[in-house]
Protein backbone atom coordinates (compact mmCIF):
# COMPACT_ATOMS: atom_id res chain seq x y z
CA UNK A 1 0.00 0.00 0.00
CA UNK A 2 1.47 3.36 -0.95
CA UNK A 3 0.64 6.25 1.31
CA UNK A 4 -0.23 9.37 -0.59
CA UNK A 5 -0.59 12.85 0.75
CA UNK A 6 -2.19 15.72 -1.09
CA UNK A 7 -0.15 18.90 -0.76
CA UNK A 8 -2.30 21.95 -1.28
CA UNK A 9 -0.35 24.48 -3.28
CA UNK A 10 -1.68 28.00 -2.87
CA UNK A 11 -3.39 29.16 -6.02
CA UNK A 12 -1.62 32.05 -7.74
CA UNK A 13 -3.65 35.00 -8.84
CA UNK A 14 -3.36 36.29 -12.39
CA UNK A 15 -1.06 39.10 -11.36
CA UNK A 16 1.18 36.69 -9.46
CA UNK A 17 1.42 34.32 -12.42
CA UNK A 18 2.52 37.20 -14.58
CA UNK A 19 5.59 37.50 -12.28
CA UNK A 20 6.40 40.99 -13.48
CA UNK A 21 4.20 42.54 -10.80
CA UNK A 22 5.82 40.30 -8.21
CA UNK A 23 9.23 41.51 -9.34
CA UNK A 24 8.09 45.09 -8.92
CA UNK A 25 6.73 44.35 -5.43
CA UNK A 26 9.99 42.70 -4.41
CA UNK A 27 12.02 45.56 -5.82
CA UNK A 28 9.87 48.00 -3.94
CA UNK A 29 10.63 46.31 -0.62
CA UNK A 30 14.37 46.25 -1.19
CA UNK A 31 14.42 49.77 -2.61
CA UNK A 32 12.57 51.01 0.45
CA UNK A 33 15.22 49.43 2.69
CA UNK A 34 17.95 50.88 0.49
CA UNK A 35 16.61 54.42 0.51
CA UNK A 36 15.87 54.39 4.22
CA UNK A 37 19.36 53.17 5.10
CA UNK A 38 21.05 55.48 2.61
CA UNK A 39 19.36 58.60 4.00
CA UNK A 40 20.22 57.51 7.53
CA UNK A 41 23.87 56.95 6.57
CA UNK A 42 24.07 60.38 4.94
CA UNK A 43 22.41 62.02 7.95
CA UNK A 44 24.85 60.20 10.25
CA UNK A 45 27.70 61.77 8.27
CA UNK A 46 26.36 65.19 9.22
CA UNK A 47 25.87 64.12 12.82
CA UNK A 48 22.06 64.07 12.81
CA UNK A 49 19.71 61.29 13.89
CA UNK A 50 22.46 59.25 15.46
CA UNK A 51 19.98 57.56 17.78
CA UNK A 52 18.43 55.66 14.86
CA UNK A 53 20.87 52.99 13.70
CA UNK A 54 21.30 52.66 9.94
CA UNK A 55 22.57 49.09 10.10
CA UNK A 56 22.26 46.18 12.48
CA UNK A 57 26.00 45.56 12.35
CA UNK A 58 28.11 45.70 15.48
CA UNK A 59 31.50 47.01 14.41
CA UNK A 60 33.77 44.58 16.28
CA UNK A 61 36.28 45.33 17.84
CA UNK A 62 35.27 48.94 18.32
CA UNK A 63 31.82 48.06 19.63
CA UNK A 64 31.00 44.81 21.34
CA UNK A 65 27.76 43.15 22.20
CA UNK A 66 27.09 43.30 25.95
CA UNK A 67 28.21 40.18 27.79
CA UNK A 68 26.33 38.53 30.62
CA UNK A 69 27.78 39.19 34.08
CA UNK A 70 28.73 35.57 34.58
CA UNK A 71 30.38 34.99 31.18
CA UNK A 72 33.60 33.03 31.51
CA UNK A 73 36.37 34.97 29.82
CA UNK A 74 40.12 34.98 30.40
CA UNK A 75 41.38 34.25 33.91
CA UNK A 76 42.96 36.60 36.42
CA UNK A 77 44.38 36.23 39.93
CA UNK A 78 43.05 38.57 42.60
CA UNK A 79 45.28 40.54 44.95
CA UNK A 80 45.29 41.39 48.66
CA UNK A 81 45.57 45.02 49.78
CA UNK A 82 49.38 44.91 49.68
CA UNK A 83 49.47 43.62 46.15
CA UNK A 84 50.42 40.01 46.79
CA UNK A 85 48.20 37.28 45.36
CA UNK A 86 45.34 35.90 47.44
CA UNK A 87 46.18 32.41 46.27
CA UNK A 88 47.46 30.09 49.06
CA UNK A 89 48.59 27.32 46.66
CA UNK A 90 46.07 24.82 48.06
CA UNK A 91 46.11 23.05 44.64
CA UNK A 92 42.32 22.65 44.54
CA UNK A 93 42.02 24.34 41.11
CA UNK A 94 44.86 22.26 39.72
CA UNK A 95 43.18 19.09 40.95
CA UNK A 96 39.69 19.89 39.68
CA UNK A 97 40.74 21.20 36.26
CA UNK A 98 39.40 18.72 33.68
CA UNK A 99 41.93 19.79 31.08
CA UNK A 100 44.84 19.77 33.57
CA UNK A 101 46.06 23.12 32.31
CA UNK A 102 47.01 24.76 35.67
CA UNK A 103 50.59 24.28 36.95
CA UNK A 104 51.26 25.52 40.50
CA UNK A 105 54.49 25.36 42.51
CA UNK A 106 54.10 26.32 46.19
CA UNK A 107 56.56 28.01 48.54
CA UNK A 108 56.70 29.23 52.13
CA UNK A 109 54.94 32.48 53.06
CA UNK A 110 56.78 34.59 55.71
CA UNK A 111 53.49 35.27 57.56
CA UNK A 112 52.70 32.16 59.69
CA UNK A 113 48.91 32.74 59.39
CA UNK A 114 49.12 32.48 55.63
CA UNK A 115 51.13 29.33 55.26
CA UNK A 116 51.79 29.01 51.52
CA UNK A 117 51.93 31.14 48.42
CA UNK A 118 52.50 30.21 44.80
CA UNK A 119 56.01 30.54 43.43
CA UNK A 120 54.80 29.75 39.93
CA UNK A 121 51.21 29.79 38.69
CA UNK A 122 50.87 28.97 35.00
CA UNK A 123 47.74 28.43 32.97
CA UNK A 124 48.07 26.97 29.48
CA UNK A 125 45.29 28.73 27.57
CA UNK A 126 45.75 26.34 24.67
CA UNK A 127 44.44 23.50 26.81
CA UNK A 128 41.91 25.37 28.91
CA UNK A 129 38.26 24.54 28.16
CA UNK A 130 36.86 27.60 30.00
CA UNK A 131 34.62 25.49 32.19
CA UNK A 132 34.96 27.70 35.28
CA UNK A 133 35.52 24.84 37.74
CA UNK A 134 38.66 26.51 39.09
CA UNK A 135 36.65 29.62 39.98
CA UNK A 136 33.89 27.60 41.65
CA UNK A 137 36.24 25.46 43.72
CA UNK A 138 38.69 28.12 44.98
CA UNK A 139 38.19 28.70 48.72
CA UNK A 140 39.94 32.06 48.74
CA UNK A 141 38.26 33.74 45.71
CA UNK A 142 41.75 34.02 44.33
CA UNK A 143 41.02 33.21 40.67
CA UNK A 144 38.23 34.77 38.65
CA UNK A 145 37.26 34.67 35.00
CA UNK A 146 35.80 38.15 34.69
CA UNK A 147 38.35 40.10 32.65
CA UNK A 148 35.96 40.19 29.63
CA UNK A 149 38.96 39.52 27.40
CA UNK A 150 37.50 37.47 24.52
CA UNK A 151 40.14 37.71 21.82
CA UNK A 152 42.77 35.29 23.04
CA UNK A 153 45.10 34.78 20.11
CA UNK A 154 48.83 34.26 19.82
CA UNK A 155 51.34 33.52 17.12
CA UNK A 156 52.73 30.42 18.77
CA UNK A 157 51.70 27.83 21.37
CA UNK A 158 54.38 29.05 23.75
CA UNK A 159 52.79 32.49 23.86
CA UNK A 160 49.51 30.99 25.05
CA UNK A 161 51.02 29.94 28.36
CA UNK A 162 50.21 32.66 30.92
CA UNK A 163 52.50 33.12 33.91
CA UNK A 164 51.69 34.63 37.27
CA UNK A 165 52.59 38.21 36.36
CA UNK A 166 50.31 38.21 33.37
CA UNK A 167 47.51 36.70 35.45
CA UNK A 168 47.93 39.22 38.25
CA UNK A 169 47.97 42.21 35.91
CA UNK A 170 45.83 41.39 32.93
CA UNK A 171 46.33 43.70 29.96
CA UNK A 172 43.19 44.94 28.34
CA UNK A 173 40.81 43.78 31.04
CA UNK A 174 37.43 45.49 31.19
CA UNK A 175 36.44 44.70 34.76
Amino acid sequence: MIRTQIIRQPKLTFWQKLYVTEIVRGLWITTRHFLRNLTLHVLHLFGLFRHIPAAVTTQYPEEQKPLALRSRTRHRLTKREDGSPRCVACMMCETVCPARCIYITAEEHPDPNIEKRPAKFDIDLGKCVYCGFCVEVCPEDAIRMDTKILDIAAYSRAEMMLDMNELLNPKGAKI
Partner: protein
Amino acid sequence: MEHFIIPAILSAFVLFNVINLAALHTWLERKQSAVMQDRIGANRAKIFGMKLLGLFHPIADTIKMFMKEDYTPPAGNRFLHALAPCLSIFFALVGFAAIPFGNTIEIGGHIIHLQAANLNVALLYIFAMMSMGVYGVVLAGFSSNNNYSFLGGLRASSQMISYEVALALTIMGLVIVYGTLDLQAMVHAQGKSIFGWIPKWGIFLQPVGFFLFLAAGLAETKRLPYDAPEGESEIVGYFVEYSGMKFGMFFFADYLETIMIASLTTTLFFGGWQVPWLSQGGFHFPWGAVWILSSLQVSLLQIASFSFKVLFFCWLFMAVRWTLPRFRYDQLMRLGWKIIFPISLINLFVTSVLILIFQ
Protein backbone atom coordinates in the same frame (compact mmCIF):
# COMPACT_ATOMS: atom_id res chain seq x y z
CA MET B 1 47.67 61.95 -38.50
CA GLU B 2 45.37 64.74 -37.49
CA HIS B 3 42.20 62.69 -37.72
CA PHE B 4 43.84 59.83 -35.86
CA ILE B 5 44.51 61.64 -32.58
CA ILE B 6 40.95 62.62 -31.74
CA PRO B 7 39.44 59.11 -32.01
CA ALA B 8 42.41 57.82 -30.01
CA ILE B 9 41.74 60.32 -27.23
CA LEU B 10 38.02 59.56 -27.31
CA SER B 11 38.63 55.80 -27.10
CA ALA B 12 41.07 56.33 -24.25
CA PHE B 13 38.48 58.43 -22.42
CA VAL B 14 35.73 55.86 -22.96
CA LEU B 15 37.94 52.94 -21.94
CA PHE B 16 39.16 54.80 -18.86
CA ASN B 17 35.65 55.50 -17.66
CA VAL B 18 34.28 52.07 -18.50
CA ILE B 19 37.11 50.13 -16.88
CA ASN B 20 36.97 52.28 -13.77
CA LEU B 21 33.23 51.82 -13.55
CA ALA B 22 33.62 48.05 -13.88
CA ALA B 23 36.23 48.05 -11.11
CA LEU B 24 33.95 50.23 -9.01
CA HIS B 25 31.21 47.65 -9.53
CA THR B 26 32.87 45.36 -7.01
CA TRP B 27 32.68 48.15 -4.45
CA LEU B 28 29.16 49.07 -5.54
CA GLU B 29 28.04 45.46 -5.25
CA ARG B 30 29.29 45.15 -1.68
CA LYS B 31 28.03 48.49 -0.51
CA GLN B 32 24.68 48.43 -2.24
CA SER B 33 23.89 44.89 -1.18
CA ALA B 34 24.90 45.83 2.36
CA VAL B 35 22.72 48.92 2.52
CA MET B 36 19.82 46.98 1.03
CA GLN B 37 20.22 44.30 3.67
CA ASP B 38 20.50 46.66 6.68
CA ARG B 39 24.19 46.13 7.16
CA ILE B 40 27.42 48.05 6.48
CA GLY B 41 29.52 46.59 3.70
CA ALA B 42 33.26 46.02 3.70
CA ASN B 43 34.91 48.96 5.39
CA ARG B 44 38.22 47.77 6.76
CA ALA B 45 40.77 48.43 4.01
CA LYS B 46 42.84 51.42 5.06
CA ILE B 47 45.58 53.39 3.38
CA PHE B 48 47.40 55.77 5.75
CA GLY B 49 44.55 55.40 8.20
CA MET B 50 41.86 56.59 5.78
CA LYS B 51 39.00 54.23 5.24
CA LEU B 52 37.10 56.18 2.59
CA LEU B 53 33.87 54.14 2.69
CA GLY B 54 35.64 50.94 1.68
CA LEU B 55 36.82 52.18 -1.72
CA PHE B 56 40.23 50.61 -1.16
CA HIS B 57 38.75 47.13 -1.18
CA PRO B 58 38.69 46.85 -5.00
CA ILE B 59 42.37 47.77 -5.00
CA ALA B 60 43.01 45.09 -2.39
CA ASP B 61 41.08 42.59 -4.51
CA THR B 62 43.11 43.45 -7.58
CA ILE B 63 46.39 43.06 -5.73
CA LYS B 64 45.20 39.71 -4.41
CA MET B 65 44.26 38.50 -7.87
CA PHE B 66 47.61 39.44 -9.33
CA MET B 67 49.47 37.63 -6.59
CA LYS B 68 47.63 34.33 -6.84
CA GLU B 69 49.14 31.29 -8.47
CA ASP B 70 48.29 31.03 -12.14
CA TYR B 71 47.20 27.47 -12.69
CA THR B 72 46.69 25.84 -16.09
CA PRO B 73 45.26 22.31 -16.08
CA PRO B 74 48.15 20.19 -17.32
CA ALA B 75 46.10 17.93 -19.56
CA GLY B 76 43.92 20.66 -21.00
CA ASN B 77 44.56 22.82 -24.01
CA ARG B 78 46.95 25.49 -22.71
CA PHE B 79 46.62 27.92 -25.58
CA LEU B 80 42.82 27.95 -25.48
CA HIS B 81 42.83 28.10 -21.70
CA ALA B 82 44.85 31.31 -21.84
CA LEU B 83 42.93 32.66 -24.83
CA ALA B 84 39.41 32.39 -23.38
CA PRO B 85 39.54 35.29 -20.88
CA CYS B 86 41.26 37.48 -23.49
CA LEU B 87 38.42 36.90 -25.92
CA SER B 88 35.81 37.59 -23.25
CA ILE B 89 37.34 40.88 -22.25
CA PHE B 90 38.25 42.01 -25.74
CA PHE B 91 34.77 41.68 -27.14
CA ALA B 92 33.19 43.15 -24.04
CA LEU B 93 35.39 46.26 -24.28
CA VAL B 94 35.31 46.77 -28.02
CA GLY B 95 31.53 47.18 -28.12
CA PHE B 96 31.78 50.47 -26.24
CA ALA B 97 33.22 52.21 -29.28
CA ALA B 98 29.79 52.69 -30.79
CA ILE B 99 27.96 54.17 -27.80
CA PRO B 100 27.44 57.93 -28.06
CA PHE B 101 27.96 59.61 -24.73
CA GLY B 102 27.35 63.16 -25.80
CA ASN B 103 26.42 65.31 -28.75
CA THR B 104 29.37 67.42 -29.75
CA ILE B 105 31.81 69.45 -27.74
CA GLU B 106 33.72 72.40 -29.01
CA ILE B 107 37.30 72.65 -27.80
CA GLY B 108 39.60 75.23 -29.30
CA GLY B 109 37.58 75.62 -32.47
CA HIS B 110 37.40 71.88 -33.21
CA ILE B 111 34.01 70.25 -33.04
CA ILE B 112 34.39 66.76 -31.60
CA HIS B 113 31.60 64.23 -31.97
CA LEU B 114 31.41 62.35 -28.71
CA GLN B 115 31.29 58.84 -30.07
CA ALA B 116 34.48 56.84 -30.30
CA ALA B 117 33.61 55.34 -33.68
CA ASN B 118 31.14 56.98 -36.01
CA LEU B 119 29.47 53.90 -37.46
CA ASN B 120 26.18 53.99 -39.30
CA VAL B 121 25.48 50.36 -38.35
CA ALA B 122 26.38 50.89 -34.71
CA LEU B 123 23.58 48.68 -33.36
CA LEU B 124 24.57 45.72 -35.56
CA TYR B 125 28.19 46.19 -34.52
CA ILE B 126 27.32 46.08 -30.83
CA PHE B 127 25.24 42.94 -31.23
CA ALA B 128 27.98 41.31 -33.26
CA MET B 129 30.53 41.99 -30.53
CA MET B 130 28.19 40.66 -27.86
CA SER B 131 27.66 37.48 -29.90
CA MET B 132 31.40 36.98 -30.24
CA GLY B 133 31.62 37.07 -26.46
CA VAL B 134 30.13 33.58 -26.43
CA TYR B 135 33.47 32.25 -27.70
CA GLY B 136 35.19 33.11 -24.46
CA VAL B 137 32.67 31.04 -22.52
CA VAL B 138 32.80 28.06 -24.86
CA LEU B 139 36.59 27.95 -24.92
CA ALA B 140 36.75 28.29 -21.15
CA GLY B 141 34.48 25.33 -20.68
CA PHE B 142 36.25 23.24 -23.29
CA SER B 143 39.88 23.86 -22.51
CA SER B 144 39.74 22.99 -18.80
CA ASN B 145 40.08 19.24 -18.77
CA ASN B 146 36.97 18.86 -16.63
CA ASN B 147 33.64 17.31 -17.56
CA TYR B 148 31.65 19.54 -15.25
CA SER B 149 33.10 22.76 -16.53
CA PHE B 150 32.52 21.53 -20.08
CA LEU B 151 28.84 21.00 -19.34
CA GLY B 152 28.75 24.37 -17.62
CA GLY B 153 30.23 26.02 -20.68
CA LEU B 154 27.64 24.38 -22.89
CA ARG B 155 24.87 25.53 -20.60
CA ALA B 156 26.16 29.08 -20.54
CA SER B 157 26.67 29.32 -24.27
CA SER B 158 23.25 27.92 -25.09
CA GLN B 159 21.68 30.40 -22.70
CA MET B 160 23.57 33.27 -24.31
CA ILE B 161 22.70 32.41 -27.88
CA SER B 162 19.03 31.80 -27.16
CA TYR B 163 18.68 35.18 -25.50
CA GLU B 164 20.58 36.93 -28.28
CA VAL B 165 17.76 36.07 -30.64
CA ALA B 166 15.20 37.54 -28.26
CA LEU B 167 17.39 40.60 -27.68
CA ALA B 168 17.78 41.42 -31.35
CA LEU B 169 14.08 40.99 -32.00
CA THR B 170 13.07 43.35 -29.20
CA ILE B 171 15.26 46.03 -30.73
CA MET B 172 13.75 45.64 -34.18
CA GLY B 173 10.63 47.51 -33.06
CA LEU B 174 12.78 50.49 -32.15
CA VAL B 175 14.62 50.32 -35.45
CA ILE B 176 11.29 50.44 -37.28
CA VAL B 177 10.10 53.42 -35.26
CA TYR B 178 13.27 55.51 -35.59
CA GLY B 179 14.17 54.20 -39.02
CA THR B 180 17.91 53.95 -38.48
CA LEU B 181 20.59 51.66 -37.06
CA ASP B 182 22.94 54.52 -36.26
CA LEU B 183 22.92 55.10 -32.49
CA GLN B 184 23.83 58.77 -32.69
CA ALA B 185 20.98 59.40 -35.15
CA MET B 186 18.63 57.46 -32.86
CA VAL B 187 19.55 59.65 -29.92
CA HIS B 188 19.08 62.78 -32.02
CA ALA B 189 15.64 61.49 -33.02
CA GLN B 190 14.74 61.12 -29.34
CA GLY B 191 15.16 64.81 -28.85
CA LYS B 192 11.82 65.60 -30.43
CA SER B 193 8.67 65.42 -28.38
CA ILE B 194 5.20 63.94 -28.62
CA PHE B 195 2.28 66.22 -27.81
CA GLY B 196 4.78 68.98 -27.15
CA TRP B 197 5.92 67.99 -23.69
CA ILE B 198 6.65 64.24 -23.54
CA PRO B 199 10.12 63.64 -24.98
CA LYS B 200 10.12 61.07 -27.76
CA TRP B 201 12.14 58.55 -25.77
CA GLY B 202 12.15 54.87 -26.59
CA ILE B 203 10.36 53.88 -23.44
CA PHE B 204 7.28 55.93 -24.32
CA LEU B 205 7.15 54.57 -27.84
CA GLN B 206 7.98 50.93 -27.03
CA PRO B 207 7.13 50.15 -23.39
CA VAL B 208 6.78 46.42 -23.99
CA GLY B 209 10.08 46.43 -25.83
CA PHE B 210 11.73 48.06 -22.83
CA PHE B 211 10.73 45.32 -20.40
CA LEU B 212 11.62 42.60 -22.89
CA PHE B 213 14.98 44.20 -23.52
CA LEU B 214 15.72 44.38 -19.81
CA ALA B 215 14.78 40.73 -19.32
CA ALA B 216 16.72 39.50 -22.36
CA GLY B 217 19.69 41.76 -21.65
CA LEU B 218 20.06 40.50 -18.09
CA ALA B 219 19.90 36.95 -19.40
CA GLU B 220 22.46 37.60 -22.11
CA THR B 221 25.05 38.76 -19.62
CA LYS B 222 24.32 35.92 -17.18
CA ARG B 223 23.29 38.24 -14.35
CA LEU B 224 20.90 37.17 -11.66
CA PRO B 225 18.15 36.04 -11.89
CA TYR B 226 19.61 34.20 -14.90
CA ASP B 227 22.67 33.22 -12.96
CA ALA B 228 22.52 29.45 -13.59
CA PRO B 229 25.86 29.03 -15.44
CA GLU B 230 27.90 30.64 -12.75
CA GLY B 231 25.59 29.45 -10.01
CA GLU B 232 28.05 30.41 -7.24
CA SER B 233 27.19 27.96 -4.54
CA GLU B 234 25.01 25.52 -6.40
CA ILE B 235 26.63 24.13 -9.52
CA VAL B 236 30.07 23.82 -10.97
CA GLY B 237 30.52 26.71 -13.35
CA TYR B 238 32.59 26.96 -16.49
CA PHE B 239 35.46 28.82 -14.88
CA VAL B 240 36.20 26.30 -12.20
CA GLU B 241 39.78 25.68 -13.39
CA TYR B 242 40.68 29.34 -13.51
CA SER B 243 42.51 31.15 -10.76
CA GLY B 244 44.05 34.52 -10.15
CA MET B 245 43.85 37.19 -12.76
CA LYS B 246 42.26 34.99 -15.46
CA PHE B 247 39.31 34.44 -13.18
CA GLY B 248 39.34 38.15 -12.44
CA MET B 249 39.13 38.81 -16.19
CA PHE B 250 35.99 36.71 -16.49
CA PHE B 251 34.33 38.60 -13.70
CA PHE B 252 35.51 41.87 -15.15
CA ALA B 253 33.97 40.90 -18.49
CA ASP B 254 30.75 40.15 -16.63
CA TYR B 255 30.64 43.63 -15.13
CA LEU B 256 31.62 45.19 -18.46
CA GLU B 257 28.73 43.50 -20.18
CA THR B 258 26.41 44.76 -17.46
CA ILE B 259 27.60 48.30 -18.13
CA MET B 260 27.14 47.65 -21.85
CA ILE B 261 23.52 46.61 -21.38
CA ALA B 262 22.97 49.60 -19.10
CA SER B 263 24.38 52.02 -21.70
CA LEU B 264 22.39 50.35 -24.47
CA THR B 265 19.21 50.72 -22.44
CA THR B 266 19.94 54.40 -21.88
CA THR B 267 20.79 55.02 -25.50
CA LEU B 268 17.86 53.16 -26.97
CA PHE B 269 15.07 53.72 -24.48
CA PHE B 270 15.91 56.65 -22.28
CA GLY B 271 17.17 59.19 -24.75
CA GLY B 272 20.92 58.63 -24.37
CA TRP B 273 22.49 61.96 -23.61
CA GLN B 274 19.28 63.92 -24.15
CA VAL B 275 18.03 66.05 -21.31
CA PRO B 276 14.30 66.76 -21.66
CA TRP B 277 13.62 70.10 -23.33
CA LEU B 278 17.32 70.89 -23.77
CA SER B 279 18.47 71.88 -27.25
CA GLN B 280 21.63 73.54 -28.52
CA GLY B 281 20.89 77.01 -27.25
CA GLY B 282 19.54 76.13 -23.83
CA PHE B 283 16.38 74.91 -22.20
CA HIS B 284 13.09 75.52 -24.01
CA PHE B 285 10.40 74.50 -21.60
CA PRO B 286 6.94 73.70 -22.98
CA TRP B 287 5.31 76.26 -20.74
CA GLY B 288 7.26 78.98 -22.48
CA ALA B 289 10.23 79.58 -20.16
CA VAL B 290 13.66 79.69 -21.77
CA TRP B 291 17.03 79.27 -20.06
CA ILE B 292 20.00 80.18 -22.26
CA LEU B 293 23.19 78.18 -21.76
CA SER B 294 26.52 78.28 -23.56
CA SER B 295 27.35 75.38 -25.85
CA LEU B 296 30.05 74.07 -23.51
CA GLN B 297 27.58 73.97 -20.65
CA VAL B 298 25.06 72.19 -22.85
CA SER B 299 27.63 69.54 -23.83
CA LEU B 300 28.70 68.98 -20.26
CA LEU B 301 25.08 68.73 -19.14
CA GLN B 302 24.45 66.12 -21.80
CA ILE B 303 27.48 64.06 -20.80
CA ALA B 304 26.37 64.28 -17.17
CA SER B 305 22.87 63.16 -18.08
CA PHE B 306 24.22 60.13 -19.93
CA SER B 307 26.45 59.17 -17.00
CA PHE B 308 23.63 59.60 -14.53
CA LYS B 309 21.31 57.38 -16.54
CA VAL B 310 23.94 54.65 -16.98
CA LEU B 311 24.68 54.73 -13.25
CA PHE B 312 20.97 54.49 -12.50
CA PHE B 313 20.65 51.38 -14.63
CA CYS B 314 23.75 49.83 -13.08
CA TRP B 315 22.13 50.45 -9.70
CA LEU B 316 18.88 48.94 -10.92
CA PHE B 317 20.58 45.78 -12.18
CA MET B 318 22.36 45.43 -8.88
CA ALA B 319 19.05 45.87 -7.01
CA VAL B 320 17.41 43.20 -9.20
CA ARG B 321 20.34 40.89 -8.49
CA TRP B 322 19.91 41.17 -4.74
CA THR B 323 16.12 40.88 -4.83
CA LEU B 324 15.17 38.00 -7.06
CA PRO B 325 15.88 34.29 -6.66
CA ARG B 326 17.67 32.41 -9.37
CA PHE B 327 15.83 30.69 -12.22
CA ARG B 328 16.34 26.99 -12.74
CA TYR B 329 17.95 26.22 -16.06
CA ASP B 330 14.89 24.77 -17.74
CA GLN B 331 12.74 27.65 -16.49
CA LEU B 332 15.32 29.99 -17.98
CA MET B 333 15.27 28.40 -21.43
CA ARG B 334 11.50 28.18 -21.36
CA LEU B 335 11.32 31.88 -20.56
CA GLY B 336 13.64 32.74 -23.44
CA TRP B 337 12.07 30.68 -26.15
CA LYS B 338 8.44 30.34 -25.19
CA ILE B 339 7.70 33.70 -23.58
CA ILE B 340 10.12 36.45 -24.56
CA PHE B 341 10.56 35.39 -28.19
CA PRO B 342 6.81 35.23 -29.06
CA ILE B 343 6.05 38.45 -27.22
CA SER B 344 8.81 40.25 -29.10
CA LEU B 345 7.46 38.94 -32.37
CA ILE B 346 4.00 40.22 -31.47
CA ASN B 347 5.55 43.55 -30.45
CA LEU B 348 7.27 43.78 -33.84
CA PHE B 349 4.05 42.96 -35.65
CA VAL B 350 1.98 45.50 -33.73
CA THR B 351 4.62 48.20 -34.19
CA SER B 352 4.79 47.64 -37.92
CA VAL B 353 0.99 47.77 -38.24
CA LEU B 354 0.81 50.99 -36.23
CA ILE B 355 3.58 52.60 -38.25
CA LEU B 356 1.78 51.67 -41.47
CA ILE B 357 -1.48 53.14 -40.18
CA PHE B 358 0.00 56.42 -38.95
CA GLN B 359 2.12 57.17 -41.96
